[in-house]
Chain length 427, copies 4
């Protein structure tokens, strides 16, 4: 199986983390999927992803002290494999796992994803539980000194131990049985430990063996540019930033992160700018809030993610989606850049503005995004020489957010709102 | 001018450094060019490059103490621009500069290149000499704290100073007048100083303005992978290693350097593995020697450089080229990879062997290079699944070094000599 | 209690690690103590220290795979406190702990020490066991992300958690009941984690509260010079090197380690050069061997440790002590430097030789150690100007290893064997 | 000569930098010295130090662009030795150097110091000038790649070059002839370059040879704690901070800097907290200002510097000294700590308060400084157990800033103003 064919364009969907943290339950996932099927599917949104600690009990119950309660009860089978916590996912009872939920999501015409932590449960190592397909026990493959800094659930595995690949094979065999389409594996692409690369390869091998086209997404980032070739060989997407949230001081550095990774976007290979922090957020973190970005900043966010061709994963509570946000995420022209553009390059960047260009793969047109980083609205100069060196020859354009036609032939500059963006399609 | 069109395939030529160090003179350059025109031009070799300190007097005269004699006499015009030392380059007399030499090399159907150090001569700063096209003086644009660690000739320029861009414009105006086709700028792509990027941009701008298609080569390396996008935007080639020499412990790390940069080779953009340390070397360093690589190691070197599509610059004294070496560097099939292959990727690498594949752009065939890193001859296993995932479907092959036809259909492995390589073209 | 009075001179004793690794048992400890009492006590040797994993079962049984078997059975009481493994320490049965063994060692006129790992047992955290004197449970104070890199037994404690100090208090209360005189706490003075300092302070506080004068020794080193003031305030000795073994390439760097720490030796405060790797070593590591140091190197070792006033802990199997080694460690004049010298300073050091001086606190004499680092015997020049600046005025001397009298008045240099040392007492 | 005897207590004086920057002239120095002799000498103030670029022309004339004008005219003798610029120091005419000025300062009963930059003038290297007492020329000993990051005047010297020690000998011979008592050598104790240590040793050697007791002060800091032993062996004082100015965010870190260096203060060896930024400051920097510290912060500054026993160098313009500041710097009891206290140790420090203690060497009393770091006035708790462990037994005290008697016997805490300090002498 050629893993690049699992995701021929950047995945688009929803992830439970930004709104629910560790606390999402089955009913919420089902309702969210229903909303997506009815309202967003036609625009390309299709993945429904359950994020971290679906296997843990009492998640969120000590949120003032812990995001992840250490040394707490998790659901696990006899082969050291985590299962959904039945308190949160009732259909997982009697060993069903996520199969009923995945089936339902598939019935809506959507795809189903889950989050996992790299490694094997600490509980398994301390209890000496079995590994399917191997004589080794969990304590034989768990590496006691290889842990995640921020989550207490797992030990990394010793890549060279008998049973290590078998353990990963066994969990992907289970995920394939459940009907999982997308795995977001965490604690795996920001590490300095020599084992991280090996664990990525074990994940890849397990997917190849499991017989199902499962998209592999690596977290948390920032991934290492010096290992770009390795992510490209073994994974489908990898985070190029630590957790992104709705703050301008986090959006601003995304410009240099995209600058850094601009030459690494290709079919099946997507540097990932992280979730879209739009709409209602944060309920599971202790207090629900409305996205802190201004409308112009949200346009900047959507414009950059789209021209760069990052995967797009909604963080919003879809069940409370307001009209403005809904319109923002259903602009077919803008989302079209994920489907039929390529070769995006930063043309210019300084402290006040940024220009990107890319090329449409279908009709020979070009795209030009113009960002204003200043605190004031202003005219942003267009560096025509560099834009033309990129390949743009025409001047007739349509701005894709306001749908206005404009001839750029005499334009030395473009007016852009503070922290906002314009996105032109140029013939 | 689109700088990518200046070098549509990786430059091939000869550089004076590995044999002559700082001491090369005009007669030696002319004779080398003549040899190249008669013997190598037909195979694609075309650049003749004069390396470091062509402007300095008495180079090599204190070689036991200094490679570069500090605070010594250099030839410089009234505009702070270095000129060829007439002791070494007699035709440069009367302000001719390198024009007579360049003209001669052009008359042979070849191209002419020179080495420069980033910055402005220290002597100019201390003497307050003029800058052409600016009211600023050398001391106004020289940055006293921005120096090269290993060469005492220059101060870096202050990128924001009036006169800085004018200085670079003025030297490239001169180089264009001389007929220079290729500039190797040193002390510019391994630095942590914030000015390095700006100086690369000033070089680019100066070339754009000078009206001549001058290939820009950056040294000394290792260049920074996180600035790959910047090199790709402004330069044609950049060193991915510090100075390379004929030692296995330096050749071995080239495999991971190529691994690192494999996704950054494109038209006009070439990560540079450094000169080919073949044949006779080192006379200017104090004692001439014969290349220390075994024949098999030389085949490994040529195979890796070629499939990766590094620029190829001969370090050997061409005037003493032996038959074996000559044959090595005139294998049209191997050199053809520079001209008509693309997408080279490392398929597998461990401590014992390496496999690379690439694709021919003309006839739909594929290339597969198989390297044996071990101290013993051995059979190297072919990872067929990965090779096929890369795109290879056929099995009929010709080995490009021994020209033997072979059908790989039943081959699990290939026999390769210790430290050697085989390079297959597969239909 | 003023902790500096617990060890008015550098502690001297024996530690089980270098010979027995994790496997030492009660009978071996008792016999070693008996030997010390009969043969070494009169020369100042008094501590008998049981090193790592006295609480673990099956230690050494998987030595080819693990030094410390992860996730294995340990002896622990209901309050999360580790107890001696009864398989190895039979007298610890019925909750006696180390009391019977400590009583026996005290009956011989010696002192008893044990090794501990910083933190609380991982097993306790996973089993939610109690903390004596606190409502908190082990899982409340264990920090899941704070682990030792090389030993799997413990989690670090959260310094600010309720129950953290109580846990340390509870273990030292137990150690005081047992009669422990010396604690070597490991995984505590090479860490970058912010908690290490806090854990040192908790250890200090627990000792102050326990009512017994327990010497506190920190491991593994190299300790951080920038925290010297902190070690001096809270501990008695701290390792200035990672584990030391009988190799010249490890002995050589001890000269600059001592150089670095020379100004930090004072009453109750001892930078620690680690164990004396003499005699028979390594049985628990899989194969017993004879100390690899030459006799001259052993003299260098003893001379440097003594003039620097490092604690002296024998690593040898005392039950097989040969005459030469016994004589080496029972030289009263040399060992006297620990008892009655001060102000040791490095006078000169280069790649070939080292000179140290110190001052006797009782009779106004001075000490001068002369080391020859070369591979040949040679005359080492004495830098008389610096030696006199240090304070030495006399010239009549006795060499403390060969007991010969010598007048240095006309000596420009001293003959020293390769890798050897001379140690003069000068009046 | 034992260099520790050159400064048996921490030096006290005035330095031209904080007020005059590079622009101080002879008349200003003379008047300042006169003021000191009349008003401050009796309190221990005695050094008058001329800081940076006394040898440079036109200093301050391009202050908007440069603090130090690069590649500009300096006064230098035929032996590559810098001389005072006669424009600023008229008495230096006819080769007199600083002798007339030093003589005058000596006539007032004071001592004279100057600032130098490590190394040899760049101008000397480029002009190939001579070295007194050596056949080497300046270009033979100047190291072109060893420069100061922030000042363009000098090249470092090659420590192993013939002529290097002779150069340093020659400048100290000159300084001794002039009557210099104090050298502040800059660009020498914050460097990573291996040569810095060697240059400190060359300075030491030159002082030993010159026959005059010249105090050696190293700048700019922060010095490296791991080289403490080296500073202690070869210098008298060394900066433990980069340039200190009158800002609370710079004063606050001085507490941990003193914490770090507390064990390294001894006769002739003084970690240096930098100049006292009091009174009028900054005229040479472009605009004169009044010390930004509140009165309480100034008391904190004087208290910490004094109990720590830092050298005290006034940065204020003495000719405009106000009464409050004058009183602050003439408190005999406080300044007495420099003369007759020892063993200062930090007893406690957290984000809100700091406690230090030290011991009087004459009358057996103790000192206790109590600092309040908070933004509010408050009662600061006294950690009596630690204070008593330090040695304090009495309770009758006098506060040295307000001269009030107080019995601390029932005091759990002491009231201290925000950012202020109290300093008790306890019998």
């Amino acid at each position: 199986m050629n893993k690049n064919l699992f995701a021929k364009t950047p995945p688009m969907g929803w992830n439970s983390y930004d709104y629910y943290d560790t606390s999402v339950n089955e009913e919420q996932v089902r309702k969210t999927a229903e909303y997506m099927a009815e309202n967003l599917k036609e625009f390309g949104w299709e993945y429904v992803v359950v994020d971290i600690e679906w296997y843990s009990y009492d998640t969120g119950s000590q949120r003032d002290k812990y995001q992840y309660i250490p040394f707490w009860k998790v659901e696990m089978d006899e082969y050291s494999r985590l299962l959904p916590c039945v308190d949160k996912f009732p259909s997982a009872k009697e060993g069903n796992g996520f199969k009923p939920l995945a089936d339902y999501i598939h019935s809506l015409g959507l795809k189903f994803g889950i989050h996992i932590m790299r490694g094997i449960p600490r509980q398994a190592a301390h209890e000496h539980t079995k590994i399917l397909g191997s004589k080794a026990l969990a304590n034989d493959i768990a590496d006691p000194s290889n842990i995640c800094d921020w989550n207490p659930d797992m030990y990394g595995v010793r890549p060279d131990a008998d049973g290590a690949q078998e353990y990963y094979d066994s969990i992907f065999e289970l995920y394939a049985q459940w009907g999982v389409d997308f795995i977001k594996c965490d604690d795996i692409c920001r590490m300095d430990m020599p084992s991280a690369k090996k664990e990525i390869e074990m994940l890849y091998n397990a997917i190849q063996k499991c017989g199902r086209e499962i998209v592999l997404s690596l977290s948390p980032g920032p991934a290492k540019i010096e290992e770009a070739w390795h992510y490209e060989k073994y994974a489908n997407m990898w985070r190029i930033t630590d957790d992104f949230w709705d703050r301008w001081d986090l959006l601003l550095p995304m410009f240099w992160r995209c600058e850094l990774w601009q030459n690494h976007v290709s079919e099946g290979c997507y540097p990932d700018c992280d979730m879209l922090t739009l709409g209602k957020l944060g309920k599971g973190f202790g207090h629900e809030w409305e996205c802190n970005f201004s409308h112009d900043e949200q346009i900047t966010l959507m414009t950059l993610w789209s021209i760069f061709r990052s995967p797009l994963m909604l963080g919003a509570d879809l069940l409370q989606l307001d009209d403005w946000t809904k319109k923002l995420i259903t602009n077919k022209d803008v989302l079209g850049l994920l489907k039929h553009s390529e070769g995006a390059r930063q043309i210019e960047r300084d402290d006040e503005h940024v220009i990107w260009c890319s090329k449409d793969t279908e009709d020979g047109s070009y795209y030009m995004a113009v960002f204003n980083l200043k605190e004031q609205n202003c005219d942003v100069a267009i560096p025509w020489e560099d834009v033309k060196n990129y390949g743009v020859t025409g001047t007739k354009a349509v701005e894709l957010w306001n749908h206005e036609d404009v001839d750029l032939i005499d334009k030395d500059s473009v007016f852009v709102a503070s922290h906002g963006a314009k996105l032109f399609k140029i013939q």
